[in-house]
Symmetry: C2
């Protein structure tokens, strides 16, 4: 059904096979720093871009054409799962996404049920199938979803927040209802990721963007069980878990989930991360996205240093968070090129 995978560097690094250099991709590599993306952004709304398989495919491929990374991550948004749960999501240019009617009562949370993801999110699966074909085996295709705790944050607050204190308070004040919501999100996410895999995703990543707001103890209650469930349910392809900011959780995620790899942000040193996860889990990260505003020569030096510190095996070169919108394209290119020139 799909073209043969010619570039299996990412899968090798995930399996722990010996590689000559680490694979490289970049979180949000299809995005606002690319002039070709901005042209489509001028023409189509965010939801048109996400919900039109041709556009999502085209946007996913833009950085592949320009930089030839080893992986393509499907252009989409973590909040589509909340849309599938029946919540309205709006996006006005210049603002972050908003849920005009977030969940406010335990009754509303208890009323959430697992939707038919094939029906509600068919456009993501179509985009994946199309992209997998168009990629022609030149790069591995990554599907993704937001982690339950991170989606719960938006479900309750309805928008971004510095501390997501309202979401935390909802959990503590209505634990049963919160756990129901988290379980529905987890179950939906598992079905959604399986559908993505069926449609062509060769690896999946789960983004827990706000896990770092939780203490270690709260993380173990509110975030960890769902990450574990998802990692254990997805047996078809490798699973990358990225619990941003949760340095304290690396050891548990490595040893007590079924994750193939763990993402790390730039506040975690490579040495700490390796020591925490041991030899059987790959690591992904962790270049400070702001460091892409350095001179390209400095980027090259720092990327080589990062690879030397992580070691080239069981390692995926990436940023520690999404690329910033105003990074010069040549600086992004320096990042990709530096990984490819490492060791030469």
């Amino acid at each position: 059904m799909f073209p043969e995978l010619k570039n299996d560097l990412l899968l090798k690094a995930l399996r722990g096979d010996t590689v000559e250099r680490p694979p490289v991709w970049m979180m949000r590599q299809a995005g606002r720093y690319l002039p070709e993306y901005m042209k489509l952004r001028d023409k189509y709304t965010f939801f048109e871009r996400v919900e039109t398989p041709d556009l999502a495919c085209e946007i996913t491929l833009q950085p592949i054409r320009r930089f030839q990374p080893d992986a393509a991550i499907i252009f989409s948004d973590i909040l589509v799962v909340l849309q599938a749960l029946g919540l309205e999501v709006t996006l006005n240019p210049g603002e972050g996404p908003r849920l005009p009617n977030p969940v406010q009562t335990s009754e509303e949370a208890l009323n959430l049920t697992v939707p038919d993801v094939h029906d509600r999110l068919h456009y993501v699966m179509q985009a994946l199938t199309l992209t997998r074909k168009e990629l022609n085996g030149e790069a591995t295709l990554i599907g993704f979803a937001g982690a339950p705790w991170t989606l719960f944050c938006y479900l309750i607050e309805g928008r971004g927040s510095k501390d997501f204190a309202k979401a935390k308070a909802f959990y503590w004040q209505h634990p049963k209802a919160a756990q129901h919501a988290l379980q529905v999100i987890s179950d939906t996410t598992i079905l959604y990721l399986k559908a993505q895999i069926e449609a062509g995703a060769q690896v999946v990543q789960v983004f827990d963007s706000w896990s770092g707001l939780l203490s270690a103890e709260d993380f173990n209650k509110i975030a960890f069980p769902y990450l574990k469930q998802i990692s254990e349910a997805i047996t078809e392809v490798p699973v990358i878990l990225f619990a941003k900011g949760s340095w304290y959780a690396l050891e548990g995620l490595a040893h007590r989930t079924n994750a193939t790899a763990l993402g790390v942000d730039w506040c975690v040193t490579p040495e700490y991360a390796r020591q925490a996860v041991g030899d059987n889990v790959s690591l992904q990260g962790n270049f400070d996205p702001a460091r892409l505003l350095s001179h390209p020569d400095e980027i090259t030096r720092l990327v080589h240093r990062m690879i030397n510190r992580f070691g080239a095996q069981r390692y995926i070169a990436n940023l520690g968070h999404g690329i910033l919108p105003y990074v010069p394209v040549e600086n992004a290119k320096a990042f990709f090129d530096a990984v490819k020139s490492w060791g030469n």
Copy 2:
């Protein structure tokens, strides 16, 4: 000149003297969650409140009257140091503070010079002297300043930011000019803290609110040297350094600065913090401010648990960041009371 200190629990915990329970205070304890503060806020602008010694004193005393914590922290703002450097700071209700004309070029950064802090910030010193007298020895008076890196963030960006990437980029693109600015801020801060001590501050705390955005390596370059300088220059009273989010820096801050105590946020476990800092430095923190939205009984339970985990010696019970504006007063009270009832 000043009334005798009747409550020296904070100083004891900082010195490592044996105490029957840890001292307690709360970051931003004088603030928006207090109805008596909101009354003054309706009547006076932010700058009137900060720059009028009677008002700053009154606001500082409000939580003391209500909760009898062991320390009072002077009501002020970290950005007054940037005002002293000649930058304009504005504050519109509902927004964070803004610098309408932040530093944008290396020339502007190189032109910064150390001001006469007694002249520019006399109102803070007057407020401290007045408050120290009014406290009548019932609580220890804490002075404070922002850390150089955190002030540099505002100096360059002119406002709050999720990532302060512009400030980081400025440092990498203009290291000489950035280092000059950081050194001027440090020198000013040292003079400012010494003036605060002369005026009545019995302990000082340095807030590096944005240090957690830096990788360990960048922290060691951009934040650590200035925290070290300040801690070594202030020999008159104990110095508390709070590098929020920089869990990786605890060991270095404990062993290679002159800090008496280190603040920790709630993402650091008590066990990790103790192990990192050793036996000669006190710890302060680290209750998740959002946890104050739990039921008061649960707050009591969690505070007792926190003290048991940190241990009661060389420990100052506090939040891991400032109290949130919408915390019910009775929940804040539960926090203070729980520390005082610990061990009974």
